[in-house]
């Protein structure tokens, strides 16, 4: 390889790099932890409806997005206009730091609103539920209560995502502790329960049989079931219902477009897309397809363990520490 060839290669490489995006009409940029298929579908439908808005998104884990936001804030400006993840505590914290721009959607009255002291800083646009996913190839008796996974049938093969990495996992652990106390977690550990990396990984491991069951997020599990995985998601009577909020950043130059997007997600069309991905919508008039076997929204809210967000945030570090302490003993 001659130097000259290298230089040619180099110029070629530089040509390949896309330049700065062309300045378009109205713009909208979203940071979200929603999976590609959901946000992709929403984008398609939204852009079809508002062709004048150039919408794009960054889809990554909530932890990564929040780290990115932290660095952006430190250096001056937050790039995104809208944030949409499933980590409710993050939103409370951002609100406390005054980074969020309140917006109360017109349809708020028609929605199921799981968030207390609602002021429009962030709005729930979807309800995530967690249950016990188990591998039907290996487990014949479906678990019916949270205590069932402490039985010998699940010995050494029940997984929970690391609450230090997943806010959903943290909230679930925290709610289970609230409902059943720390002895429940100790009981799980005594039965050989394991801590996995992320919410996706524990479900993958359950599907492969590395775990027999796991504390699992609905849409992750149901998507795999849809594709043929031998999994079933069981919901014990006390349900874990965790909202996914959406919010606009203060100082965003595109608040108009941002509001349009939130309205769209909350519209019947938007909520139908949400429901079709295997999660509960926040509208009572939108039904989750039957193949997912999810309880209706109203029933889920009734069965849900009530969440005290203030306590949740105050105890986060201590709870995680105690949990990992037990699980890594």
């Amino acid at each position: 390889m001659k130097i000259r060839h290298l230089l040619q290669l180099f110029c070629f490489a530089l040509l390949g790099l896309p330049g700065f995006a062309a300045q378009a009409e109205e713009k909208l940029y979203i940071y979200t932890s929603m999976k590609e298929s959901l946000i992709g579908e929403l984008k398609k439908a939204f852009v079809a409806k508002h062709p004048d808005i150039k919408m794009d998104y960054q889809s990554a884990g909530a932890g990564k997005l929040m780290a990115k936001i932290a660095a952006e804030r430190e250096s001056g400006t937050i790039l995104a206009d809208v944030l949409w993840t499933s980590e409710v505590p993050d939103f409370y914290q951002l609100k406390a730091q005054g980074v969020l721009q309140p917006y109360v959607p017109a349809e708020i009255k028609a929605l199921v609103n799981p968030l207390p002291e609602y002021d429009g800083s962030f709005t729930a646009v979807r309800l995530g539920t967690l249950g016990i996913a188990y591998n039907t190839r290996l487990i014949k008796d479906a678990p019916k209560t949270w205590a069932d996974v402490q039985k010998p049938a699940f010995k050494g093969a029940y997984g929970i995502a690391n609450p230090a990495l997943s806010g959903t996992a943290y909230m679930s652990v925290s709610l289970l502790v609230k409902a059943f106390g720390w002895p429940y977690i100790e009981g799980l550990r005594a039965n050989g329960a394991k801590m996995g990396k992320g919410s996706g990984q524990v479900v993958d491991d359950t599907a492969s049989g590395d775990l027999l069951a796991s504390l699992a997020v609905d849409y992750i599990t149901l998507d795999k079931v849809d594709k043929g995985a031998t999994l079933t998601l069981a919901f014990p009577p006390e349900m874990l219902v965790i909202p996914s909020p959406i919010a606009i950043f203060k100082g965003s130059p595109n608040t108009v477009a941002a509001k349009k997007f939130i309205d769209f997600v909350l519209s019947k069309e938007g909520q139908t897309i949400v429901a079709n991905e295997g999660t509960l919508p926040v509208r009572a008039d939108v039904k989750v397809p039957d193949r997912f076997h999810l309880p209706p929204v109203a029933e889920a809210m009734n069965r849900a363990i009530k969440i005290d967000y203030k306590q949740l945030m105050a105890e986060k570090e201590a709870t995680i520490k105690k949990f990992t302490g037990i699980m890594q003993k």
Partner: protein
């Protein structure tokens, strides 16, 4: 010992200034900036976090784990890499050209993919190999447990040994075989020659490769995250990852993470210092002014056994996990048994032909990989030249700055790059592809510095001085003499950068924007939220990209080979 850096002519100064500028601005500033932000809060020294980090027993446990894992990987990776490098360059082993390429395959795969493959094969409950032993051979329980120190070290070794392999191959190709031959004439056996002559002579390359393995492994997150958590094995990078991911959008939490990463920096600094101590004991200049003929060692009776051994190694560490990943990619969903009714080509079809993000991502990654590899390669030669061949004050500092980003986890680098290049200093590259390019340069500079310094160490000063005495300026001597002679080192640097850059994830996932998704990001997007089975699909496409890289490498080898023939 070229002192012409003090000469009055302008060009070299400008060029060296440029190289040093690249080093400082692109490489050092982001990392220093993030440490500065971590240690100084509102103009005050951040005592609280430092005390917390130092007081937390987890820190020490994690550091110990980091060191145990990194040392293990370094020892095994160096042995494996050196052995295979010697085998494919200096012996008459059959098919060694093909093997040289095959040994590089692991380097093209993200190690977390490898970790997942091995988890599928060797996890105690459901690993296919363990199941084979239990179900078919009637063992009582799993034979292997990948969730262990040994398992993590073995997997990291498989993916990191190319650091040593690539560099030692380069050094051995340049080495004077008469040194070996004269030892053989004086009656030394093969083992003695290797131990007493060959190994010591390529020591700079071995050590620089080991250093890369050590530092990489210390700051490596993926494998430990996938395989370690079940056995409660964590290291500094996984701790940092936890801290950063708990930021909730506030920089305060990130500070703890970055303070923690300074533990890594100090350890890395110590290791670099130690290596320089070892290297300082003797300077090894293998390409002396005298020229020589390369020769091969006849393996004779060992030829077939060693060939079989190589096949077994390649089969077990490369073909097996790669096939596993491809098979899983063909499953309708992750976790199903490998049965015909569960297999489908839809996944591959979707990623290759339907998902438009893939196309952009592949294009972006190839462009970024080429650009960063070329820039870093040339800048690396010049900076290494300053470090190795010039008597300049503070060149140790230059070397340290170059290695610095390598010793901290990628996510910390990415945060630093955001701090430095999103308008704070008047230049806003944020959300463009250029910021990823800068981050890649920062992240991979260490590869280039190490590969090029090792190559330069071996080029005798008199060759450059002869050019200067012939009337060549320093720049002309660099262009006409040094660069052609260190070309193997530069090529090594190019591939050390291009291959991992193609699949880079940690940095790009924090920096990508709407038009700048990379292959790593595409894979990640698919794998988040538990859609692992989708991941390998995009790999098929990427492997095509790699095939191009491999062809490139072969082309180079062919050119090099003909060069050697001309020498004969």
């Amino acid at each position: 010992m070229n002192n012409a850096g003090t000469s009055r002519s302008g060009t070299p100064q400008i060029l060296f200034g440029l190289a040093v500028g690249i080093l400082v601005i692109f490489v050092a500033v982001p990392v220093l900036l993030i440490f500065f932000n971590a240690l100084w809060v509102h103009g005050r020294f951040n005592v609280a976090d430092v005390v917390n980090v130092l007081r937390e027993p987890d820190t020490y446990k994690a550091l110990l784990n980091s060191l145990i894992l990194a040392s293990g990987v370094t020892v095994t990776g160096t042995l494996v890499g050196t052995f295979f490098a010697w085998l494919v360059t200096r012996t008459d082993l059959p098919y060694k050209g093909a093997m040289k390429v095959l040994f590089l395959v692991p380097f093209m795969l993200p190690s977390f993919i490898g970790a997942l493959a091995w988890k599928m094969l060797l996890s105690p409950r459901s690993g296919y190999i363990n199941r084979l032993f239990v179900d078919v051979f009637g063992f009582d329980g799993p034979v292997f447990n990948i969730y262990s120190y040994g398992g993590i070290i073995a997997v990291e070794t498989m993916y990191l040994f190319p650091f040593v392999f690539i560099q030692v191959c380069g050094a051995l190709e340049r080495m004077d075989p008469t040194l070996e031959e004269s030892a053989r004439i004086s009656g030394a056996d093969l083992f003695t020659i290797t131990r007493k002559i060959t190994i010591p002579l390529v020591l700079p390359s071995i050590l620089s490769g080991s250093l890369l393995i050590m530092l990489y492994s210390m700051a490596h997150f993926g494998t430990v995250a996938v395989l370690g958590i079940e056995a409660g094995i964590y290291n500094i990078p996984t701790l940092i990852y936890e801290r950063i991911h708990q930021s909730a959008g506030s920089f305060d939490a990130i500070r703890t993470g970055t303070v923690l990463s300074m533990v890594l920096v100090f350890t890395a600094a110590f290791i670099i210092w130690l290596q320089n101590k070892v290297l300082a004991r003797g300077r090894y200049q293998i390409i002396a002014g005298k020229s020589f003929r390369p020769a091969e060692l006849k393996l004779r009776g060992l030829r077939v056994p060693l060939l079989l051994f190589c096949f077994a190694y390649i089969g077990f560490t490369i073909v097996l996990p790669t096939t596993t990943i491809f098979m899983v990619g063909g499953l309708r969903t992750y976790g199903l048994p490998f049965a015909l009714e569960n297999m489908t080509l839809d996944n591959y079809h979707h990623i290759l032909f339907e998902w438009d993000l893939t196309r952009d991502a592949i294009w972006n990654s190839i462009s970024l990989g080429l650009a960063s590899a070329l820039i870093t390669m040339f800048a690396g030669v010049i900076i290494s030249y300053v470090i190795v061949k010039m008597k300049v004050r503070g060149k140790g500092l230059l070397e340290f700055l170059g290695m610095l980003p390598f010793s901290v986890p990628g996510s910390v680098i990415a945060l630093g790059v955001i701090l430095a290049w999103s308008g704070k200093f008047g230049i806003n590259l944020y959300n463009t592809v250029w910021i990823i390019l800068i981050a890649y340069i920062a992240r991979y500079m260490a590869f280039s510095l190490k590969a090029n310094s090792a190559a330069l160490e071996q080029v005798h000063d008199s060759l450059v001085e002869a050019a200067r005495a012939s009337g060549a300026t320093m720049w002309q001597a660099l262009r006409d003499i040094v660069i052609p002679l260190v070309r193997p080192g530069m090529v090594a640097a190019f591939f050390l950068i291009f291959l991992p850059a193609l699949r880079e994830l940690t940095v790009s996932v924090l920096l990508y924007g709407p038009t700048s998704r990379t292959i790593g990001v595409a894979i990640y997007t698919l794998s988040e939220d538990g859609r692992f089975r989708s991941r390998p699909r995009s790999r098929a496409r990427r492997v095509r990209g790699h095939a191009g890289a491999v062809r490139l490498r072969q082309d180079h080898d062919a050119a090099h080979g003909s060069g050697l023939r001309r020498y004969r």
